[in-house]
């Protein structure tokens, strides 16, 4: 008996649809469970006070640490990543060096986060002597998200129509003037969107700064390097409170609260990017 291909199709499409929905289940589960146990933990004290030894008190230094880390990472990764993208899109020719750079970018993208953690510690903290500081953390995270920034910027720059460049050059502008005035302004939304999404992911990473962030601090950082630059970070604090499970954690729901605050922060960081990108898709003027 031959099965009618149309029935096969209906069946397959139905299965694919259900499977796609299955993907949504875990996301909802994560959100719901964090909300359920985490909300009870969050209050003003939690957000503004320093932690006590048994994970009581608040998580303020961790919140501040993550925010400072994010700022530092943007400051370092955006210019360098954008510069590299401009080089690849506008200046480089198809030679061996360009291929090597491309392989470098792919390689960086594939390095496991914990390997970044070991590298960041042995290079920035020890070898360069920055200590377990914000600078060391920001540099490590910047290196890690560099491929994301470069790729997003390249795509945005390549999407700018070629005739913009031709017109600018034919009016006597130099190559850099053309890039600065006729190309970058029209690639900016794409560049920022990609970078912010990369930063959002960096904000949630534990392993790259596992050996750089401090597990527990009462004070907040006073400088960028050295002992005064020591900082806490939300993902790392979540990890270390998890390790306290079974021991005398003051409120066993604390980790859920930390998780909730962390996800909220990541959401707040990435939301502007998503909005900009949706606006960009509507508004394209060429």
């Amino acid at each position: 008996m031959r099965i009618n291909p149309r029935h096969t199709e209906k069946f397959i499409f139905g299965s694919l649809f259900s499977v796609s929905l299955i993907i949504l289940v875990p996301i909802s589960w994560v959100l719901l469970i964090t909300l359920k146990y985490g909300l009870s933990v969050i209050n003003l004290d939690f957000l503004t006070k320093s932690p006590t030894f048994n994970a009581g008190g608040g998580i303020y230094p961790a919140i501040l640490g993550t925010i400072l880390l994010v700022i530092g990472t943007i400051v370092v990764s955006l210019p360098i990543g954008l510069g590299a993208a401009i080089y690849l899109s506008e200046y480089s020719s198809k030679n061996l060096l360009t291929r090597i750079i491309r392989i470098g970018i792919i390689s960086l993208a594939g390095v496991p986060s914990i390997v970044y953690g070991l590298f960041g510690f042995s290079f920035f903290v020890l070898f360069l002597g920055f200590d377990k500081s914000l600078l060391a953390g920001a540099l490590t995270l910047s290196l890690m998200i560099l491929p994301v920034v470069i790729t997003a910027s390249r795509e945005a720059i390549d999407a700018v129509p070629e005739h913009f460049r031709e017109v600018s050059l034919s009016l006597g502008a130099t190559k850099w003037q053309t890039i600065r005035h006729a190309v970058i302004p029209h690639a900016l939304s794409g560049i920022l969107t990609g970078t912010i999404l990369g930063i959002g992911r960096a904000a949630g990473e534990t392993a790259p700064i596992l050996l750089i962030a401090s597990a527990w601090l009462v004070n907040t950082p006073t400088s960028v390097v050295g002992r005064g630059g020591r900082f806490m970070a939300l993902p790392n604090y979540l990890y270390s409170t998890y390790a306290l499970v079974g021991k005398s954690m003051e409120n066993p729901n604390t980790p859920y609260g930390i998780a909730l605050v962390l996800m909220l922060l990541v959401f707040l960081i990435t939301l502007p990017a998503i909005i900009i990108r949706a606006k960009l898709r509507k508004e394209r003027k060429w």
Partner: protein
């Protein structure tokens, strides 16, 4: 040269330097891994390291065999990929070929949303909540197993797999589908017989990237896989604890010293090389398709 030309020259050199940063970065990483981890091999043989079945770094005498860790990583990654690939293929086909308009946008955004969930949060929820379910379902003494970790890893690898596959499927030229439909096949037949084979190398790349992601993941396995450096039995080992290469580094570095630290850097070298190989091959597959 006037001022304007000097400025232009300096800017161009700065841009060139930025381009070099990625090469400098990857070389630095490799150099520093070798610097710390290379000295491990002065006293240990590569064979004992890779094939040794005992990982007792803190005993006397210490043993640094990473075979259990390699097997742990393979087991967790293999299980994760077996779950993620069918789901990913289904999701990618549905999003790329069947879903339309706002449903498509919604699904794409949801998949992206998965990537925004920090791995430590997943690891924590996995260990506490999911671990509890696993413990109950299978009547185990602990929910921290390879299986638990694999479920979480599958979820984490899903966005990578789906988006790369979706790109590969969408990149297949319209006329392939149109010719199939013009010859009388149903939409599904067109997809199955024409589009998917044409997207094959892109889909293979997606799987490889997913594997790379899973092997390199740290926090989820550090928190949910049980962290026991044993050789997993087959097939029951999946419901027992394992320890992966990444989790080993994450959990042991803080208090390690001397040869132990060196051995952890040696593991990092191994990880670095494995993920490098996987990602470069995946990129090659993606570009091989584009050249066509």
């Amino acid at each position: 040269m006037n001022l304007k030309q000097i400025r232009e020259f300096i800017i161009e050199k700065a841009i060139f330097l930025c381009g070099l940063v990625s090469i400098i970065g990857i070389i630095l990483i490799f150099v520093f891994l070798i610097k710390e981890g290379g000295s491990f091999f002065l006293k240990e043989s590569l064979r004992d390291f890779l094939l040794g079945i005992h990982w007792y770094p803190t005993s006397t005498p210490a043993k640094f065999g990473i075979l259990p860790l390699i097997l742990g990583s393979l087991l967790v990654t293999g299980a994760a990929i077996s779950i993620a690939v069918p789901l990913g293929v289904a999701g990618a086909i549905f999003i790329a070929e069947i879903a339309k308009g706002s449903l498509k946008e919604f699904l794409k955004s949801s998949v992206e949303l998965i990537q925004a969930i920090p791995s430590v949060v997943l690891g924590f929820l996995g260990a506490k909540a999911l671990g509890g379910y696993v413990m109950d379902w299978f009547n185990l003494s602990s929910g921290l197993t390879a299986f638990t970790a694999a479920l979480l890893l599958a979820f984490m690898a899903l966005p990578t797999i789906i988006s790369v596959m979706e790109d590969a499927i969408t990149a297949v030229p319209k006329r392939y589908r149109e010719s199939a439909l013009a010859m009388g096949s149903t939409k599904w037949q067109a997809i199955y017989r024409v589009v998917l084979p044409a997207a094959a190398s892109g889909m293979a790349a997606a799987i490889m990237l997913g594997i790379g992601r899973a092997i390199g993941e740290t926090m989820v396995v550090a928190m949910a896989s049980g962290n026991a450096a044993i050789i997993p039995g087959f097939p029951s080992g999946i419901l027992g604890p394992v320890k992966t290469l990444t989790a080993t580094i994450a959990t042991e570095t803080a208090e390690a010293s001397g040869r132990h630290i060196q051995s952890l850097f040696a593991i990092a070298i191994a990880l670095f090389l494995i993920t490098l190989g996987v990602n470069v091959s995946a990129d090659f597959l993606v570009h091989k398709k584009k050249v066509k």
